[in-house]
Symmetry: C2
Subunit: 294 residues, 2 copies
């Protein structure tokens, strides 16, 4: 019999939890508001206990996280500005209460793993998953494994070319002003144009500018990580008309320099929406649990 | 007895070749101008034949390269603008003539491997090597292996923030104008200030601006690849006074966002010169040969 797993998509606003044996076999679901670590993690543990027995748990977690298994604070949420959540031993508490293997990674790395396991990146060893919504984050699988390195990527905070004559908006990132997130996340769109992204019609110039910044980020990621595919998810990417713009601009910015047919001729299969829709993060947690179990 | 290896550092201006059993045991050296593939590769093969027998060959090669072992053009120099060298089967020709295992990678990936094997990145699994000179290139080791992905990184061509009020220079890259290479390579310095980098005194504002662009690139690489260490080599980096400027600006641009003591407190051990001096590329070729032999 296929064992059951617990999956936790831990976000700054809410925690989504599932009990599942596979991506199409979800037996129970729950959603809890992100209040205090004690309350929210307590609710999660209660849910997992009541709907088990489960074989392992995966946590796709907002960060920054300590993902170094040799560190005394492995599995902690570290320096988040979210009140009460800095230095939270989320992995340790769940492992202690349930006495089960617990896998943890960033929400975006987990989403990348899910897209590689069941979604748009099956069969590939090098790919990137971005979420562009309230914030911007990027996760990567490189040589078949999630990329951690020193800490873990923070792709939303790379610097981008910013033409202040065309776009005088200073940027909305409290750390870097006009980094990728500061120029292109939902709050940046809202502040720049005075209305939320989802209320801006297709023909509004906001979308061309948005595609420009996303394409600059694509170019940087292609020049740096050389992924075999890039998945763009998140709330802002729910506007499907923006994909062709991003692809066209990415090719224009690369200007033929990366001589790969994948980029030059097949870019519609290169920069793609998530194969798992809005479930990449949640199913990423499931994939982490399964990996931890194996 | 330790076997002998052939190492070829194949550059756009010259090919440096060695016969060696280890980084401190170089038995023969030769240098050939990069003229035509037939002539230059012919000279290399002659040198390797006369100074053998050798057990394997490594090529640290200028690019772009096809590094996909499943490709019919694996080991070719692909689309270089260097006259006569596009679509050159450099690996195949050497393997055919010598009937030996031949390893090949980009010059910068090879240099990264050498720094990991004998240099500044020993014991690490995730690190980046940049050369900043006539051009700008970056290679990376991720999860213990050189990063290839779709093609291989082209880190010199990532876009950077470029404040045209402070620096109206349009950039010198024929593909992208003001990418990293177009703003910060030797020819960019020369064109912007009207004199070669090596003739500019320490106190010249060129160096502060140069450090600014390099630090922007460091931030992008840290946000994307999350390396455990970054090595900066190449002709421009022969000015040791620029390292403290780059480190300081990298911290300033990150603005505390990446909460790692390595970045926050020990940046002098994080952004470092090559442990192998100017020999990273050459010894990278040796490391590739040894890997191919094993």
């Amino acid at each position: 019999m296929t064992p059951l797993f617990g999956g936790i998509e831990a976000g700054g606003t809410k925690f989504n939890c599932i009990i599942a044996s596979g991506p199409d076999k979800i037996l129970a679901e729950a959603r809890f508001s992100t209040t205090t670590p004690a309350e929210t993690i307590g609710q999660v543990i209660e849910f997992l206990k009541q709907n088990g027995p489960i074989a392992a748990v995966g946590i796709a977690c907002f960060g920054p996280l300590d993902l170094n298994p040799a560190s005394p604070t492995f599995g902690y949420i570290t320096s988040t500005p979210k009140p009460g959540w800095a230095s939270t031993d989320i992995r340790g508490r769940i492992q202690h209460e349930l006495s089960l293997p617990v896998g943890i990674d960033t929400d975006v790395n987990a989403a990348a793993v899910a897209e590689g396991t069941w979604g748009a990146c099956q069969g590939l060893s090098n790919f990137v998953y971005f979420t562009i919504g309230t914030g911007v984050g990027g996760g990567a699988v490189v040589n078949g494994r999630p990329l951690h390195g020193l800490v873990h990527p923070e792709m939303g905070h790379m610097g981008l070319p910013h033409n202040r004559e065309l776009d005088p908006f200073v940027g909305s990132c409290p750390f870097h002003e006009d980094c990728f997130e500061g120029l292109a996340a939902g709050p940046a769109i809202n502040k720049r144009w005075g209305q939320p992204a989802e209320t801006l019609p297709f023909e509004h110039p906001a979308w061309d500018l948005e595609a420009t910044y996303i394409a600059h980020a694509m170019k940087s990621v292609i020049c740096t990580l050389s992924p075999e595919r890039i998945v763009l998810g998140g709330g802002v990417m729910q506007q499907p008309h923006i994909f062709p713009l991003i692809r066209h601009k990415t090719q224009a910015f690369l200007n033929g320099y990366v001589q790969s047919p994948t980029v030059l001729e097949h870019i519609a299969d290169y920069i793609v929406p998530p194969g798992l829709g809005t479930h990449s993060g949640m199913l990423g947690a499931l994939a982490l649990a399964q990996q931890q179990y194996r």
